[in-house]
Structure formats: structure tokens, C-alpha cells
């Protein structure tokens, strides 16, 4: 049985106030929207916060186009030895394998890649080794709780083959079940909207002002829309508490 390490998910520096002593690592950044990628100065503040308190540090990244890839790369150069990088984009994976070889042992594949169940297999390790990935990269899997539940059902082994083969970082209590790059929240409170706002990726960060709750008349599940992503709340079961390597607590909805 593993004892899970407590970790906190900080989406922006304002959320650092939610940190308490029980959290031994900080996940910092944004996995959902490139418009919310932290600036280098924000990243430095979060890294200093972690250093002063002797905490582990993981930088979250999101799926990006060429423009935002450059912005993400600028942040990578600030990472120190031992800082983790959570990758959600194949292009970023490619850049890291070529230009940031020092980060290769500390890269972890994020939920947007692992939810796709691609890399949660033993044979994926051989593939990743070809690109120089080693260490934690080959051992750790980031999962939100709903994927973990689905995955456990898929394993059919009862005890959860995945939990035996990998170190699982389990995110709770919010679980993202759908995300889009064409944000429905963008310009939601502007009377005058720019042309093409529905097909481009501009906004005034309305997601930081609005959260929506949706409910289907015949279903009990409460669905939360924040920015470009849909979430539902899910609680940890004793199985996940016992078998996860890390529990990543989200104090607020992570957009």
C-alpha cells in the first residue's frame, strides 16, 4: 500500500493563499487555456514560494498553437533541476526532447495526453525511451478522477493494473470531462463582439469572472462550465486514497 503525497494545484498566484503545510508540492500553471499561461514573472513568484517552503514544484502546460508554444518555451527555460514539467502537447514533447534535455527525466504526461489512454501502457515506455525520456517520465501518470474510475473498470483486474504499473497522480475534486479551444465564455458579457470571435482565440478572460452551472432535467449530475472546460465534482474513494502516489487537490475550479 502506498501513502499518497498531498499536492496542491495552483492555477494562478492568487491561489497560493490556499496552500497549507500538508501540501508538499505545488502544481502551478494552466492546462486548459493558452490565454492563461503564466507570465515568467508569475512563474518566478510561484517558484520562489515553493523554494522558501522547501516544496516540490511542477509546471502545468496546455495544448498550444505555434504562437503559444513560444510563450511556453520561454517559461521552460526558468525551470531548475528537479522541477517537474507536465506536458499536454505533442509539439511541446518534441521541443523538450530536442532543446531541453535536462528536463527529460522530470517530464510527466498530463491529463490531456493520458486521458486518451495512449501512454498508460507498459509498451509505451519503450517508445518514450527512443526520445530520451527517462526517470519519472516513464513511471508517472496524471489522471483526473473520472478517468481513473473508467480506467479501473477497463483494467478488469479489480486491484487496478494501472496502479501497480505506474505512480498515479490523481486530481480531485474537479474532473474535466470536455474542453474546447473555441471558448464559449469568451466575450459573454460584451455587447459588441469582435468579428470572428467564434473562430479565433481572443477573449477578455471572462472565465475569471463567470462560472456557470448546468443541469439536465432528467440527470442528477451537476455540470460546471468555466471558461473553455466542463467539470464535475467527484470525491475520492478509499481505493484511490490508498493506491495513488499523489493526490492533487484543486482548491478552486482549475481555469
Amino acid at each position: 500500500m502506498r501513502s499518497a503525497k498531498q499536492t496542491i494545484y495552483i492555477k494562478n498566484i492568487g491561489d497560493l493563499e490556499f496552500w497549507t503545510k500538508k501540501f508538499k508540492r505545488i502544481y502551478f500553471g494552466n492546462e486548459f487555456c493558452p490565454n492563461l499561461i503564466p507570465t515568467p514573472s508569475e512563474l518566478k513568484i510561484a517558484m520562489d514560494f515553493a523554494t522558501k517552503r522547501n516544496l516540490g514544484f511542477s509546471l502545468l502546460t496546455c495544448q498550444v498553437n505555434d504562437v503559444f508554444l513560444e510563450k511556453t518555451i520561454r517559461n521552460l527555460s526558468l525551470l531548475r533541476k528537479g522541477d517537474e514539467l507536465i506536458i499536454n502537447d505533442w509539439g511541446l514533447l518534441s521541443v523538450v526532447s530536442k532543446r531541453f534535455k535536462n528536463l527529460l527525466p522530470y517530464c510527466v504526461f498530463g491529463k490531456f495526453i493520458t486521458n486518451n489512454i495512449n501512454l498508460i501502457r507498459k509498451d509505451s515506455r519503450g517508445f518514450l525511451k527512443q526520445y530520451g525520456f527517462s526517470g519519472e517520465t516513464l513511471k508517472r501518470v496524471e489522471l483526473d478522477i473520472n478517468t481513473a474510475i473508467e480506467r479501473r473498470l477497463l483494467d478488469r483486474s479489480g486491484a487496478g493494473k494501472m496502479f501497480r504499473n505506474f505512480k498515479v497522480s490523481l486530481y480531485y475534486p474537479y474532473s474535466c470531462f470536455a474542453a474546447t479551444r473555441l471558448c464559449p465564455t469568451a466575450y459573454c458579457d460584451s455587447l459588441i463582439k469582435p468579428k470572428n470571435y467564434r473562430s479565433e482565440f481572443w477573449c477578455n478572460r471572462e472565465c475569471q469572472r463567470y462560472t456557470f452551472l448546468a443541469k439536465h432535467p432528467t440527470q442528477k449530475t451537476r455540470l460546471i462550465l468555466k471558461g473553455n472546460a466542463w467539470f464535475l465534482e467527484a470525491s475520492l474513494t478509499p481505493f484511490f486514497k490508498k493506491n495513488s502516489d499523489r493526490l492533487v487537490f484543486m482548491p478552486t475550479i482549475p481555469v
Partner: protein, 303 residues
């Protein structure tokens, strides 16, 4: 122009209507492509696949087999996919659509004679991602539905000698491979009667605002959200889609416009193919300005 087929009888009329290539799935023991594993969306067996390849080649059209599913820890899926892959090559298929990185890697040496397409289920939003898959001997990239014209133009500038497959009418606004609405809310993705895509998310939800920092009247905000929530413009005649087709037809790399049409009726496929064929012909023959093009589409399609 590429279109999905789900039965043999569709291939000849669509080839005659001007489709350049086809893609199809095949029913297997395990689900091996992104559609339900039944005859509504797939050919029934290998002998049908063989026949489909023969008919397509008779009309000098290419045909791709979709093995675009991300195989779970169930190793039997990968085994079956590898076996189907070998069978398809033996039958002279022109290309395979992939979505599993390990499957792609394991077949790298065996794909010399066929085209390799990377499905939307493996997201490629930037030129670096395309370079990554290019090293795995991929030559065609099915771009995500939400990729904007500017992003595609950017990729086109940076990457040479690839084929870009682009949805002619992108419908769903959620990231490919990352919508589990069905699992959460529990409605089927496809209408049982005609098998047409029917995302569960089109079912109206009761919405309310739960944040406190409102600047506008809540009704206005909610009305915006409801209007932009789920589906993109699916009509070919919407200005967004017409302008998309105009700019994307001018890319440097080869562009294949794709219809996500497996499971749809032949009538609908004909309508889509006909409209797109007209547009492509007009653009290539007349090299019009954007204004001329929009004027022509309004006149032509009203008629």
C-alpha cells in the same frame, strides 16, 4: 476531397460524383476506430474491404482504412489492430489512419508502400507536433476541428511536403478525444434510427450563473453561452465555413477536405460532395477575390 463510406454500394456513385478518396472502418472483435463497432458505420469484414479497395482502384481513387482508436491496456486490441493492419496492406489499401502512438511506432518499418494519416485523436495544434509525427513516417495530418484558419496557415508556412486533411464543415467544438459527455450525462452519441451523429450535448441544459462578478445582465450572458455552447456552424453556406474554404484552398501543401460522414445517408453525402465540388471548381478555375467568391456562392447556392 475525402469522404467516409460505410457500405460498398456507396463507393461507385460517390466516385462518379467527384470524390477523390475514401476512408472506411471495419467491424472487428474489439473497437478499433473512432466510430461505434457496427455495420452502420463500418464495412462488415475483410472481403468487403477487399471489394471496396477494388472498386476504388477501378475508379482510380484512393481508400484509407481507419484504425484510429487509442488502444487501452487491453493488449488484444493492439494485436488485432496489427493483424488487421497486415491484412489491409496485403489487400493493397492506400493508407491507414492512426491514433495510437505505440501502434504507429510498431508499424513504422512496414508502412513504406502506404500513406500514414494521423487522426484528430492525436492532437496536432502546432508545427512542432507535426514534425514529431513526421519522424514516425507520417505524411498526412488530419487537423483538429477547432484549428483556426490562421493556425492552419501558420502550420502550412512552417511545414513542407505534407498533406493536410481538414474538415470541410467542422461541427463539434470540443477537443477531439477529450469529450466524455456521453459517459457523464449518459446519452447515446448517435441517433439509433438513422445513425447520424447526435452529440448528447445538443440536448438543452438548464443553466445558471454561479459566480458573483457580473457586469452585464445575467439573461444576456446566459443567452450568449447558450448560443455558443456546443456546436460550430455545420452549414456549408455559413460565412465562417465559406471563408474557411476560400483561404484554406490557397495553402502551399496539398489539402484534402474531409467529410465526417460515416453513418450518414447517401443523399446527405451527395449534397455535401456536390456543394464542395462546385466551390473547389469555382475557386480553381476563376481565382476570384474574396468578395467575388462570396457573391458567387450566394447566387449559386440560392439557385
Amino acid at each position: 476531397m475525402a469522404i467516409g463510406v460505410d457500405n460498398l454500394l456507396e463507393i461507385e456513385p460517390l466516385a462518379r460524383a467527384g470524390v477523390d478518396e475514401f476512408f472506411c472502418g471495419i467491424i472487428s472483435r474489439k473497437k478499433l476506430n473512432g466510430r461505434p463497432n457496427n455495420s452502420k458505420f463500418n464495412l462488415n469484414n475483410l472481403s468487403e474491404l477487399k471489394r471496396a479497395i477494388e472498386i476504388s482502384h477501378f475508379f482510380r481513387k484512393e481508400i484509407f482504412l481507419a484504425l484510429n482508436f487509442s488502444f487501452s491496456s487491453d493488449e488484444l486490441m493492439l494485436k488485432e489492430a496489427l493483424s488487421l493492419f497486415s491484412d489491409a496492406i496485403r489487400l493493397n489499401v492506400d493508407g491507414i489512419i492512426f491514433a495510437d502512438i505505440v501502434f504507429l511506432s510498431k508499424t513504422k518499418e512496414k508502412r513504406e508502400k502506404i500513406k500514414t494519416a494521423i487522426s484528430t485523436l492525436l492532437p496536432k495544434l502546432n508545427s512542432e507536433a507535426i514534425n514529431f509525427f513526421k519522424k514516425l513516417k507520417a505524411d498526412r495530418f488530419v487537423l483538429e476541428r477547432q484549428t483556426s484558419v490562421k493556425e492552419i496557415q501558420n502550420i502550412d508556412k512552417k511545414i513542407k511536403n505534407v498533406e493536410l486533411e481538414i474538415f470541410a464543415f467542422p461541427v463539434c467544438r470540443y477537443v477531439n478525444a477529450f469529450c466524455r459527455y456521453r459517459e457523464v450525462v449518459g446519452f447515446p452519441h448517435f441517433l439509433p434510427k438513422d445513425g447520424r451523429p447526435h452529440p448528447p450535448c445538443v440536448i438543452p441544459l438548464k443553466m445558471e450563473i454561479i459566480s458573483k462578478q457580473e457586469r452585464q445582465a445575467p439573461e444576456q450572458v446566459l443567452s450568449h453561452i447558450k448560443n455558443t455552447l456546443f456546436l460550430l456552424d455545420s452549414s456549408i453556406f455559413s460565412e465562417t465555413n465559406l471563408s474557411r474554404l476560400f483561404y484554406l484552398s490557397k495553402l502551399r501543401n496539398k489539402v484534402v477536405f474531409k467529410f465526417d460522414s460515416r453513418g450518414q445517408s447517401l443523399k446527405l453525402k451527395f449534397l455535401q460532395v456536390g456543394a464542395l465540388k462546385d466551390i473547389i471548381n469555382f475557386l480553381s478555375r476563376n481565382n476570384p477575390s474574396y468578395k467575388e467568391y462570396i457573391r458567387w456562392t450566394k447566387k449559386h447556392f440560392t439557385r
